[in-house]
């Protein structure tokens, strides 16, 4: 057993934490090693001196300051978490509210317009003869087209229109002599 081991275990020896064999070995070493014995005596004295001290309560002011400091630290710790969390929540809530209110506004507007249109149409239908509309639906859907259809068909006749300046007598001129063809 060397001095190093002994010095490492001196505190344990004083506190009686070593087993019997370790204690015996250490005692034997202290008996032969002057430096280790000197170290042991120094620790033992310091230990004995500690016993003379009395436990004293800190002054009230110090206690209060200490508690206040602890509380403020706890508070600041809580705030350091709560502030960013609140900020994030606020942003998320703001964005959600913005879009929600916007969507809701658009939805309300569209719904109102649709309702108005539906009411107007229902009112119109009640005034008109729905049966008549349904029976002529194809025609009414493309009224302008069917209105001008005969006119559009006449475009095909245009090359066949005879020259009216010469249409009297036998020399009637036809633009196309299809009869001969």
């Amino acid at each position: 057993m060397n001095c190093e081991w002994t010095k490492d275990h001196l505190f344990s020896f004083i506190d009686r934490e070593l087993d019997q064999q370790q204690e015996r070995i250490l005692k034997e070493h202290l008996g032969v090693c002057r430096a280790c014995r000197h170290e042991y005596e120094k620790i033992q004295r310091a230990w004995d001196a500690l016993d003379c001290w009395e436990d004293a309560l800190p002054p009230e002011r110090v206690r209060k300051n200490l508690l206040q400091e602890i509380r403020s630290r706890e508070k600041s710790k809580w705030l350091s978490v709560a502030f960013p969390a609140a900020a994030v929540l606020l942003i998320v809530a703001g964005i959600t509210f913005f879009y929600k209110s916007d969507d809701a506004g658009v939805y309300r507007q569209l719904t109102a317009e649709n309702e108005k249109a539906a009411i107007r149409v229902v009112k119109d239908i009640s005034q008109e003869n729905e049966e008549d509309i349904v029976s002529n639906l194809q025609l009414l859907r493309e009224k302008d087209f069917f209105d001008s259809l005969d006119k559009l068909e006449k475009i095909d006749y245009l090359p066949l229109v005879e020259d009216r300046q010469n249409d009297s007598g036998r020399d009637q001129r036809s633009s196309l002599d299809l009869d001969a063809a």
Partner: protein, 162 residues
């Protein structure tokens, strides 16, 4: 048995008399009703507006439109397509050109009846001719020769939209 058949036939005939539409019209009406029910409020509104305008027209004009519609239903898909395209081309014309086109079209209306008859006969003969040959005939016509280059382009587009 015979009397049962007679009663059935009688009920059938009475039903046909009392329904507002003929049996031939029924599938068309059913289809129209489905179309009408499926229409958006905007589309319905447009149809109702057209209905009002149509009703406000004189009886003769209304009948003419119905006749146009019936004639159109009897056309082949190719002819229908050609007329729709022609209508689109006509709609795309600016007002001055449209006036010129209308002016030319009115020439047909102002023809004396015997000339009109001859014209319709020629047209019936011409209908069977392919488009390329019809174009040749067109280019030989007095009507064509009376047009300037721009008008020729416009009428060519109207006559041969496809």
């Amino acid at each position: 048995m015979k009397s049962l058949l007679a009663i059935t036939a009688l009920c059938f005939i009475m039903g046909a008399v009392h329904t507002p539409y003929s049996f031939a019209e029924e599938p068309k009406l059913r289809r129209n009703k489905v179309l009408w029910d499926a229409m958006s409020p905007e589309e319905r509104q447009r149809v109702i507006e057209n209905y009002r305008r149509w009703k406000d027209q004189p009886e003769e004009k209304r009948r003419r439109m119905i006749k146009n519609y019936e004639n159109y239903r009897g056309l082949s898909p190719e002819e229908k397509y050609r007329l729709k395209e022609r209508y689109r081309a006509y709609q795309g014309l600016d007002s001055s050109v449209r006036n010129k086109v209308n002016e030319e079209i009115n020439k047909v209306d102002s023809l004396p009846p015997e000339h009109k008859e001859r014209l319709f006969r020629k047209y019936r003969q011409m209908r069977g001719i392919p488009a390329e040959e019809r174009l040749k005939f067109l280019e030989q016509s007095l009507f064509w020769k009376s047009l300037d280059e721009r008008e020729k382009e416009i009428f060519k587009r109207l006559m041969f939209p496809d």
